[in-house]
């Protein structure tokens, strides 16, 4: 028995690894392992106030902090009968775009691109790609600035709270964000073309299913109370348990998910495959230029999907800023209208659909359940790992190459192991 391992998987958020067990030329096992310690977050919030809940649950993950906060707020506010006013809704959209921009640019340019250009890190890339790395970092910095302005801090800002925001940013600051977003667009388009020009190997292509929030009104977006599936179904987010079927897996502290017994993909690639034909402007042009049937079969296209989503986010920001600044009065926090109820909040975290489900009693959290995108992608990722390893064994590939290819596949999902609490071992018999 031979075991090829990658442990820890680097350039991902959290602690994970990949194990491949081979018996001669037969695969015994391919695992995407999650070593991250168990935190039992769902049980930590029981008995807590809604405000305490959002403070705790955003800490599930630093990179998806605002998606967790947003999903929690949507779930809690449904349960407590709160409807936030338009200014708060728009500011939440802006903060969420900031996070999408930040996380996508970190992943595409700092974590994933080094694989394709043959470097161990983005820092090492600076020698040849100094200008590109610096521009990517400035894009990320700008996104961090949006997160800081809207949420009160780059990471775990407490400003977005139950019923609205503690404080609204000054119009001047928002208008400056609008200006910068327009300036950043040129590099984002260049970046998408850079990623679009990369070769994507086709030896592990295979069909899968895609899921994402349905934003409604034939638009592209990152929130929705319904979930769109690539088979044409549209399902209310309250049915998330049927969609995700979480089950325990011994090699992972993250629960694995399947839909109708089969793995599925969530994340930027799912959003592009399900909603990309709704894109307009530069992002629409890029989508038309690069999208092809192989996007439905190969997870590595997620990198390009994220690069195009960056362009989309930059095109959205000026519109949202305009809609915020024209509302002069900063609304007060909206108070709960009931202290008992149930609510499911669904948002698109950068790496896929995120659900926060609450049951409230006496104004406190009675029960909570969170379903995390990386957990939903694990089964799908393992499917492609297996496919890639099968093909590579046939070609008598070296262990080193197998290990590298598996890492590249895992990383393409932009796994967030902190979130999933949940990367390669190769074993030969």
């Amino acid at each position: 028995m031979k075991e090829i391992t990658v442990e820890p998987l680097s350039r991902v958020e959290g602690e994970g690894g990949i194990t491949i067990r081979l018996d001669g030329k037969k695969i015994k096992d391919v695992h995407f392992d999650i070593f991250e310690g168990t935190r039992l977050i769902e049980t930590l919030v029981e008995g807590k106030t809604p405000q305490e809940d959002v403070s705790i649950t955003c800490r599930i993950c630093a990179i998806c902090t605002l998606s967790h906060r947003y999903a929690a707020l949507r779930g809690l506010e449904k349960a407590l009968g709160i409807e936030v006013p338009p200014k708060a809704q728009q500011l939440r959209s802006l903060m969420h775009l900031g996070e999408c921009l930040e996380s996508n640019s970190l992943h595409v340019y700092v974590l994933a691109l080094p694989d394709f250009l043959g470097y161990p890190s983005a820092i090492a890339m600076t020698e040849k790609y100094g200008d590109e790395v610096l521009k990517a970092l400035s894009l990320k910095k700008f996104a961090n600035h949006i997160m800081e302005v809207t949420s009160g801090r780059m990471i775990h800002g407490e400003n977005p709270t139950v019923g609205g925001f503690g404080k609204y940013p000054e119009n001047e600051v928002l208008l400056d964000i609008k200006k910068k977003a327009k300036e950043m667009l040129e590099f984002a388009e260049f970046g998408a073309n850079l990623v679009g020009g990369l070769d994507i190997p086709d030896f592990f292509d295979a069909e899968t299913t895609f899921m994402c929030c349905e934003p409604g009104d034939n638009t592209f977006g990152l929130v929705g109370d319904e979930i769109r599936i690539s088979n044409g179904e549209v399902v209310p987010c309250e049915d998330y348990q049927k969609l995700t079927n979480e089950k325990f897996s011994a090699h992972s502290a993250a629960k694995h998910c399947t839909y109708k017994g089969k793995p599925f993909t969530v994340g930027a690639l799912a959003r592009m495959n399900n909603l990309g034909d709704r894109l307009k402007g530069t992002s629409g042009k890029l989508f038309k230029k690069y999208w092809n049937e192989r996007w439905l079969k190969n997870p590595l296209y997620n990198n390009l999907a994220q690069a195009i989503e960056i362009v989309w986010a930059l095109e959205q920001i000026p519109k949202i800023v305009d809609s915020i600044v024209k509302i002069k009065k900063d609304p007060e926090l909206v108070q709960p209208t009931q202290d008992k109820g149930e609510g499911v909040g669904a948002v698109e975290a950068p790496r896929g659909t995120l659900y926060h489900h609450y049951k409230m009693k006496d104004g406190l959290v009675q029960k909570a359940n969170f379903v995390i995108p990386t957990g939903q992608n694990l089964e799908d990722c393992e499917k492609y790992l297996r496919k890639a390893v099968e093909a590579m064994i046939k070609q008598d590939a070296k262990d080193e190459d197998m290990r590298f290819q598996c890492e590249v596949i895992c990383r393409a999902y932009d796994p967030c192991i902190s979130c999933s609490t949940h990367m390669v071992n190769l074993e030969r018999e």
Binding site: V12, T38, I56, N159
Partner: protein, 259 residues
């Protein structure tokens, strides 16, 4: 590689990765950080990592399984100086809320059922100094980048780093915010270490205590004040325990006569 450069390793155990990300988020300063040191390990940012001897190990996250405990002990053996960065490493973080040992078993079952983990042995989350000696503590959820680089520059120059020994209230007053406690809002500013710049109170929101307790914090006076404002013992306990586990719960339990 310049031999005089200090060999540094960054390690993340259980948490949200926010402290390492705070360092990555500094962009320009990140490049200087890599320039000024010989980074031996930083698996969030690069893939050519090794387990060699270190001058400084920066450790994020709390310890949630036995394997992490062993890894941490190995890091301790290899490094001259070990620094806990972030509230999880310093005090345990949100996952170390003191809910009782028996409670933890029950909670594990609730989330994962009767399943066993094949590759890790989970334990109730603990701060890192339960396992190894820690030379410096840099709290924050997440850490503040300015505070980190100030601290790190001191380490590089072999100066003893100095941390604020005053509470969030001090920073809050400098910002001329209205006191939230005076408005009967449950705020932990008086017992929480400064360093964040009073972020939350500056947004009209109470301090949740994410920097952990200030040295020599007056827990009794905070407790009495909150009681006087009609907060129940349960409400006070819930708020005290969120970020710092036993560091805030022990003093509270003493006040309540539960210890």
């Amino acid at each position: 590689m310049d031999n005089k450069k200090l060999k540094v390793g960054l390690y993340g155990f259980t948490g949200c990765n926010g402290c390492q990300l705070t360092i990555i988020h500094t962009e320009d300063r990140l490049l200087e950080f890599f320039e000024a040191t010989d980074i031996k390990s930083f698996s969030l940012a690069k893939s050519d990592n090794d387990d060699s001897e270190l001058d400084i190990a920066l450790v994020e996250g709390s310890i949630c399984n036995q394997e992490q405990g062993s890894h941490l002990k190995d890091i301790r053996k290899r490094t001259k100086t070990l620094v806990a960065i972030g509230t999880c490493a310093c005090y345990g973080g949100v996952q170390s809320m003191e809910l009782g040992a028996k409670g933890w078993d029950k909670r594990l079952k609730k989330v994962y059922g009767d399943n066993n983990f094949s590759n890790r042995t989970p334990i109730e989350s603990k701060p890192i100094d339960v396992f190894v000696d820690v030379d410096h503590y840099l709290p924050g959820c997440p850490i503040n980048a300015d505070q980190f680089f100030y601290f790190f520059a001191n380490l590089l120059q072999e100066n003893e780093p100095i941390f604020p020994d005053y509470p969030v209230c001090y920073e809050c007053r400098l910002k001329e915010n209205d006191c939230l406690l005076l408005k009967d809002i449950l705020c932990l500013g008086p017992i929480t270490a400064a360093g964040c710049g009073a972020r939350c109170p500056s947004h009209n929101l109470p301090c949740m205590g994410c920097w952990g307790p200030m040295k020599e914090a007056n827990f009794t006076s905070e407790f009495d004040l909150l009681k006087e404002k009609n907060f129940s013992i349960q409400e006070i306990k819930n708020r005290f325990r969120i970020f710092s586990g036993s560091a805030t719960m022990k003093p509270l339990k003493k006040i309540l006569g539960e210890l």
